[in-house]
């Protein structure tokens, strides 16, 4: 998702002073990109909603610590992605989900012609998170590894496996090769 969310400095200053209207304006400015990010990473919509709420609670609590380095969206996005990854980790601990397995969910037939959005939904949350953060949000493997508490090679291999799986699900015919 390409986001161009310019927030006036005066609005940030008012929010840092605790102005509730300014804090709500920040929420309105970022609620959709935060939810979209979380929803693309997480399977359940209600989890994405919780991440949205948790993210803004943290924004409200810590907005005074934002010093204006970089775009405010970058700061908010980092909080949101961290919250979503924490939720994935917690879910993995609960369900002892294998990092490579696709859990139950929408019926998936390898080789069927699925559209990309459906195929993406079928991926495990870990794979979705890596693909979305790397390919769409533009995070580096180093940044993803740091946020996930894993190695750079883990991030790279997750991305490669996810794309190989997407390719199979989309039944792409690009000349007979199957990397």
């Amino acid at each position: 998702m390409t986001v161009s969310l310019a927030v006036p400095d005066v609005l940030v200053a008012r929010a840092q002073a605790g102005d509730e209207a300014a804090l709500e304006a920040l929420y309105r400015a970022f609620e959709t990109p935060v939810y979209n990010l979380a929803r693309r990473m997480l399977r359940r919509p209600e989890d994405a909603e919780d991440v949205l709420q948790e993210t803004f609670l943290e924004v409200v609590r810590n907005i005074k610590q934002y010093r204006g380095e970089g775009h405010l969206w970058g700061w908010v996005r980092r909080i949101a992605s961290t919250k979503a990854l924490m939720r994935i980790r917690r879910e993995q601990v609960r369900a002892t989900e294998s990092l490579d397995d696709e859990p139950g969910g929408p019926a998936m037939h390898v080789g069927a012609n699925l559209d990309l959005e459906r195929a993406f939904e079928v991926l495990s949350e870990t794979s979705r998170a890596v693909v979305w953060l790397h390919d769409v949000e533009g995070y580096t493997h180093e940044e993803i590894a740091e946020q996930m508490g894993r190695s750079v090679s883990f991030s790279k291999s997750q991305l490669a496996r996810a794309h190989a799986r997407l390719r199979r699900m989309l039944n792409e015919d690009v000349g007979g090769a199957t990397p």
Partner: protein, 197 residues
Amino acid sequence: MHCTMEDLGALRAGEGSVWARRHIITCAICQAELEALYQRVAQLKALPTLRPPRDRWPAVRAVMTAERARRRRSRSAWGGTLAAAALLAGVLLVQPSIVGESGNLHAELTQAKQQSATLEDSLQHYDVDGRVLTGHCAAVVAELEDRISDIDGTLATLTQRNVGEQDAELVKLWQQRVGLMRALVTARATRARYVGL
């Protein structure tokens, strides 16, 4: 032998191995795979934006309000405690007979304060910052905390006056505080059980 998906990903990032960089120049199949990878990423970026189905701002605002009230209450309670301690020390030094004359009221007051302290301890067990509350639950908690904060303010004011004339009112206020604290602990405990934390 063709490029693996990891090779293609590395090529896309400009980090391909020497072998992969040489191979991709001459292999039409791998060139097509790399192009498909670029296409897939472009399609991912073009997926529609998903919007939140419900407005979560009321819940965020309710938690924010509750936290601000709690901070105010903490400051107020701390100030009240200091004032009460100073006043009690003064009374004991100057008018020791007052304590003896209102023994029953003091006993009730002591009991209410002890119950209040016990409930404060219980609240610490449930009152974890960052826990997600529903909008309704957060509103109830905020309301209770506001009312407790009001009572703390009144208690702080009363303890600066003559204790002998205010004992009955102090007991009543402390007992009200205990009732509100019980409701607050119940609200927190119910939510904690509900979310399994």
